[in-house]
């Protein structure tokens, strides 16, 4: 907002120091007017953000995640300068371009072209550059003849395309994107990602709010988790997203789940003692040694051990496309009805490759009693690309129609890891899923052989 900083921050740098935002709420309609006329305070403050400090280096890409109402959008509004912080200090370096909410305040009556021109003027683009930029916007938004139609005839997806194309026509030093990519088809999203990636390679700082966790994975090298107006986690996207997901589960699943926010020794895991804790062999078979962020537990069930094996022996590396097995041993401290064990395989970036549970797989485990032990094994073929993978093991109860569970009891995030190696005689493929196509072909020989 104010550009009169004593010290101008570096291009693309964002520094938030103790930012807070409070809205004034008035109990009586006349309260505000009474204050203007000199009456004592008639309002109380509703703090939506408190004590936010965040240093963003030029070129960093930060994903801001959190549940609805956590204050994400408000934070971006403060950074953009459309709203003033009630406390603290914001310093921004260079040109900022922002896509706040959907659309960027288009005038409904005007055509896409006119609106684009208007927005370019708003960002201070010179008239000399405008024609080329408009052409670029037209090409990127790809609206066809709609570019010449009034914006009121646009679908929300089309508005979003025009907004994104316009806001990114000139490479900004700081790009702020709030949920803008949620609409639009997959091809357009891909192009948006490509453009953002290109900006990043040129040194643009990105501040990105999204509900789409995979977008944060794809674009960001740092994530910030907001909760009730404060920063609760700031770090690698994977860790922060895991924590966020666990919080969401804990919230929807209701009572008693303890979410692990920081890595801690898993003393509780094998507390029954009778089960020998499998040697924490680092990468390899089981390492029930640590509870990583994003795990949660409740107390009624313990994960005693996890074992990854292939060809009957524990393995830290498995051969691709060959059968492998994941076995998890649980113990129970209460009686539980209809328990189900779940398994998740994630790649090195943290993206989920596969996840399901015994209810989803149609293999009920039945009820358990106090002090029961249960071993569950998942056998499958390792149809994975060569690389490192982690295993997450969980337990829930109460299978519902449609494949979901009524409650979550425990999750051990990334409890074990394994690598996949390719045997030289296997098919070569790349991508996410091994589709194992059967190849056929038919050749029609040319009737007259070429000379």
């Amino acid at each position: 907002m104010s550009s009169d900083e004593v010290q101008q921050p570096a291009l693309g740098a964002v520094a938030l120091n103790g930012i807070g935002k409070a809205y004034r709420l008035y109990d009586k309609k006349w309260g505000r007017a009474a204050e203007w006329l000199g009456a004592k305070d008639q309002h109380h403050l509703h703090w939506v953000l408190r004590d936010i400090s965040l240093q963003v280096s030029p070129g960093e890409a930060i994903g801001i995640i959190g549940e609805n109402g956590a204050g994400k959008s408000t934070l971006l509004k403060l950074i953009t300068g459309v709203s003033r912080p009630s406390a603290g200090h914001i310093a921004l370096g260079g040109q900022v371009s922002a896509l706040l909410e959907l659309g960027i305040g288009f005038n409904d009556m005007f055509t896409g072209r006119q609106n684009a021109l208007d927005m370019l003027r708003l960002t201070g683009a010179s008239d000399a550059d405008a024609p080329a930029l408009i052409e670029d916007i037209q090409a990127f938004a790809d609206l066809g003849e709609y570019f010449e139609f009034p914006v009121r005839t646009y679908s929300s997806g089309m508005q979003c395309r025009l907004a994104f194309a316009t806001a990114t026509a000139v490479r900004p030093d700081v790009l702020i994107v709030d949920e803008a990519l949620a609409v639009g088809d997959v091809f357009f999203q891909q192009r948006c990602f490509d453009r953002i990636q290109g900006f990043r390679e040129s040194g643009t700082t990105l501040l990105f709010v999204s509900h789409s966790v995979s977008a944060v994975y794809a674009l960001c090298d740092r994530a910030v988790l907001l909760r009730d107006g404060g920063i609760v986690a700031d770090g690698e996207p994977r860790t922060v997203i895991d924590l966020y997901n666990a919080q969401v589960v804990a919230k929807t699943s209701g009572q008693g789940l303890t979410v692990i926010a920081e890595t801690q020794p898993a003393a509780a895991v094998s507390e029954d003692g009778t089960e020998e804790p499998t040697t924490p062999n680092k990468a390899g078979t089981a390492g029930t040694s640590e509870l990583t962020p994003g795990s949660y537990l409740e107390g009624s069930v313990c994960l005693a051990s996890v074992r990854v094996s292939q060809f009957g022996t524990a393995a830290s590396a498995v051969i691709a496309d060959k059968p492998m097995e994941v076995c998890a041993k649980f113990s129970f401290t209460t009686t539980l009805a209809d328990v189900h064990a779940g398994m998740q395989v994630r790649d090195a970036r943290g993206d989920v490759i596969y996840r399901s549970h015994t209810h989803g797989l149609g293999h009920p485990l039945g009820d358990v009693c106090t002090a029961d032990r249960l071993e569950v094994c998942f056998q499958f073929e390792a149809r994975l690309l060569p690389g490192d993978y982690t295993l997450t093991i969980g337990m829930g109860a109460g299978g519902k129609p449609g494949g979901s569970l009524e409650s979550s009891l425990l999750r051990h995030q990334d409890i074990a890891s394994f690598s996949v190696i390719r045997s030289p005689d296997d098919d070569f493929w790349d991508g996410r899923v091994n589709l194992q196509p059967k190849v056929t072909h038919r050749r029609e020989a040319a009737e007259v052989p070429p000379e």
């Binding site: 104010s2 459309v82 305040g105 009556m109 005007f110 201070g124």
Partner: protein, 266 residues
């Protein structure tokens, strides 16, 4: 002074301002068949209606006038200034609320908005005055160089409207009642201003009261220029000029005092 949305920053957005004025003109008539003609047809209709209704009633009011169309010229010189004033006042009163969705999404100097309103109102007024001058030539009332003394009058009216408008616009963000209130006030105000009637028909003892209305001396000054072809009595414009200045200061004060958190209301 480090005003958050200072004028220097507004100047940097001049391209947006000029572009918006042009678009505003187009927008007003976008989707209409006659387009720009409506700029003229609307005041024309009013003038014809008032002329027809009041010229017969008011004839005794303009006693020394025997020239044809005298009343129409009298009416136009005041009415057009009034319409400019009211348009500017009402437009600027609603300007922040109407642009709320833009204000909460894009960071730009908000003062650009009232400036856009001012420029487009001036442009409208200029077009209508052009037509008025054609009429003056036809009916033989053309005042000559003295017409230039209308410029300071228009400036005073503009300053008054924009200052008052800025104050109203800011309060209107928090209390939308202002918009409604202004709508009613201007109706009343119109009849308290000697536009359709000459001051002479008002009983003498109310004259002092009438001149409390800052618009009345301005309208009277226009009458002097266009009816009598003479420059206005400049001293009569002191009060309106001071009022305009005060309203500008008031508008700026209210805006900077109350307006800084207005985006929280949208």
């Amino acid at each position: 002074m480090a005003l958050p949305l200072g004028l220097n920053r507004t100047w940097a957005y001049r391209r947006f301002i000029f572009g918006s004025v042009g678009q505003e003109l187009r927008a007003r008539y976008a989707g209409s068949l006659l387009g720009g003609l409506w700029v003229l047809l609307q005041p024309l209709a009013l003038i014809v209606i008032y002329s027809v209704i009041f010229s017969s009633i008011m004839r005794p009011g303009l006693p020394d006038e025997t020239r044809p169309f005298a009343y129409t010229v009298y009416l136009c010189s005041g009415l057009l200034l009034w319409m400019f004033f009211v348009e500017l006042l009402t437009r600027s009163t609603g300007i922040f609320v109407q642009n709320g969705s833009l204000l909460k999404k894009v960071n730009f100097p908000r003062l650009a908005l009232p400036i856009i309103a001012l420029l487009s109102a001036l442009l409208n007024y200029a077009v209508i005055m052009g037509v008025f001058f054609v009429l003056l030539v036809i009916v033989g009332f053309l005042p000559g160089v003295v017409a230039l003394s209308a410029l300071p009058i228009i400036a005073i009216a503009a300053g008054f409207a924009i200052g008052l408008g800025l104050a109203c616009a800011t309060i209107n963000v928090y209390y939308r009642d202002v918009e409604q209130f202004i709508g009613i006030i201007t109706q009343l105000w119109f009849w308290l201003t000697p536009i359709v009637y000459p001051v002479t028909i008002v009983p003498e003892r109310f004259h002092g009261f009438l001149m409390w209305n800052p618009i009345a001396p301005l309208v009277e000054a226009m009458h002097a220029i266009f009816m009598e072809g003479r420059a206005p009595i400049w001293s009569s414009l002191t009060a309106p000029a001071v009022t305009a200045l005060v309203s500008l200061v008031l508008g700026a004060w209210v805006y900077f005092r109350l307006g800084s958190d207005m985006t929280d209301e949208f």
